[in-house]
Symmetry: C2
Subunit: 448 residues, 2 copies
Amino acid sequence: MEDNNVQVRVMELIENRRFSDLRKLLEDINSTDLSLLLNELSIENMILTFRLLGKDQAAETFSYMEPDLQEKLISSLTDKELKEVVDELFLDDTVDLIEEMPSNVVKRILRTIAPKERKIVNEFLNYPSDSAGSIMTNEFVDLKENMTVDEAFQKIKKIGIDKETIYTCYVLSMSRKLIGVVTAKDLLLADRDKLIKDIMDTNIISVNTLEDKEIVARTFDKYDIIVLPVVDMENRLVGIITIDDAIDVIQDENTEDFEKMAAITPTEDGYFKTSVFSHAKNRIIWLLVLMFSAMVTGGIITNYENAFAALPILVSFIPMLMGTGGNCGSQSSTLIIRGLAMEEIKTKDFLKALWKEIRIALVVGILLAVINAIRIMIQYNDMKLAVIVGITLIATVALAKSLGCVLPMLAKKLKLDPAIMAAPLITTIVDTCSVLIFFNIAVMILGI
Amino acid sequence: MEDNNVQVRVMELIENRRFSDLRKLLEDINSTDLSLLLNELSIENMILTFRLLGKDQAAETFSYMEPDLQEKLISSLTDKELKEVVDELFLDDTVDLIEEMPSNVVKRILRTIAPKERKIVNEFLNYPSDSAGSIMTNEFVDLKENMTVDEAFQKIKKIGIDKETIYTCYVLSMSRKLIGVVTAKDLLLADRDKLIKDIMDTNIISVNTLEDKEIVARTFDKYDIIVLPVVDMENRLVGIITIDDAIDVIQDENTEDFEKMAAITPTEDGYFKTSVFSHAKNRIIWLLVLMFSAMVTGGIITNYENAFAALPILVSFIPMLMGTGGNCGSQSSTLIIRGLAMEEIKTKDFLKALWKEIRIALVVGILLAVINAIRIMIQYNDMKLAVIVGITLIATVALAKSLGCVLPMLAKKLKLDPAIMAAPLITTIVDTCSVLIFFNIAVMILGI
């Protein structure tokens, strides 16, 4: 509600060309909200409003804007205005921007950056897209071990304004190797003439530039830290990763797992940003694989024509058996895959997890079998059919839950992503097996 | 590798009873790693090692330990030792501990807490488990607006050591209403004689104690903040939430979505902590619902006995049609559910998303139909069959993708959790529909 009120107020002020009032109003709006607000305005009004922002606020708001809006805005800015915005951006935001923009815009952006800065930007652009290097920023405060606390404060005051975080300072040797960490809290609580080397913590958690960003995110989660230093092969500090970027990685990884588990090839782009054909392409591969496997199940059914000629009602149980098997398998595989991702379940727990799933399968399977048998007795009064369906259910549930446990853990052991062993694949395998079990038991009991 | 080395070294030192060396070694180990290390030791050695830790490190390590290990440790500590640990814990960790422990242990813990503190702990315990109040802590630095920057530093130094975060200070009125925020950065960069009210930010992002913790987590993500103040109905500051707790909420919500989307009733406990019967209970409800729906599909099949008597091969296509329909529906619903959760897709985008899914469905459906038709012509050389299967595939894929888009968005609109409209439910609905479509088209084309 409140957001809408602000938006209405902004539109009114634009309409009445009361720009100094508008400027004052804008000053009080948070940059995140401002970026959302700009998104709702017409292009002309958006540019007009953006130009009223102070330098800092303009850059911060810009960094929160969606890439397509950024592109539109850039095309309306003069080179001088663009330079002002880019100058105020944090390095990691500049790198993100360059990665998102089309090449003609990139050229304009790079022209606005001073040669020395441009070299760093280019270096940052060269880190693999899933590495720690790709999400780090070079804005950190570095101290020397022989500085006093007072000198450290002087340095923070001098350079601190431009830094994304000043609360953790890094102590570097002459060759820029990372030798210690000092927090702003340590500095505040220490005497002003103490030496940095006497208060610094040498027990440092850091990652290498080439470390997988998934592991980076997990490091944040594990150690409850808000910033993580990134070092090169020689342990020289090259950048830091802040927790807001780590959260983005966590969310991206989760989205990727959701996609893989629904048989979709993951992409980095958002739902609406991805074209119809890309969507189709991301989905068709697994659909084809699963379709061919399902044809096998179909082929098996034709081998048992005798069975369903003898008892046509058998065919009507296929959807229930396949559905239940698939659902049981997807329940187990989801819990195991998530447990592995959260490191709550380890591959060494293999037998423990399997034994748990088998016991759960027996409880669930017997219950479902009994309910089905009762229903069959009431509806058809056919004991043989009740026994066939009951035994098939217990066997199918046991198999589905075992596979749901075994396959993801096997994938993990083979260094594959367990998420590919999710519902769709397991459902397809269980489908085939359940039909085989069903007809074999039927043939046995009916004596066909 | 390194972790193992440390563990071996710790065991050696215990074996040889070189406790002063052990104490020195322990000082350099991070509390998170230490909690993992203690988990690997025998109970006696764990307690022995824990007693060697300094007060701060002991409390921090304790807060990272698993509840069952905490319980074992507490039962071996004297009341005095327990008091020392609990005194050093942050309030939110104490509250978490009390929530996890059995009642006899809780009584012992509460006895060690001073009456005044105990009152606050009890208040915190009373917030609903999904509310902002349940994850906040009361350790924050509060300032008055007429203090100078210098006085603020004095206050931070005096009380700062015990606070979970000192980097964001809160300015309170006489009635403890939240009127402003000052960061340590603001303080460091300001002149020492400036007044707090001149540098404080009055544009505050805060949440109410009863706000859903999911919304709290989203607020962190949206505004890239590392700490969030929690106020009561009268806007009085009662606590703060730090980002590490927000990340835990994000991960818990993701796990909950994974579980709901796999037809599991979500629980707060971990995989191995949940008993076999609880697991079975969490899974059986949806299995029953889905089983009964699948029986409907089975019932429909029996109505078309004539069709599969005329062309028995028809039955063999059921698994492929049901499987493909289910997979298509789960692909769409997963993307839509995730998009809604990440606020990338809004309910107002309904038609836009539906139109996208329909176009994707046509691309995917036609491709699958053509591939199937070719296969049928090669294998059976039956044009009618190829047409029946082809048309059914296109219709099923279109229906599955439309439902996968419509149902989660409808749930969101009705203020239900979109995650319940995931793969299992949609698969079951699509199964029924695909069988209906298949036999109707068959009856029409075969003229039975």
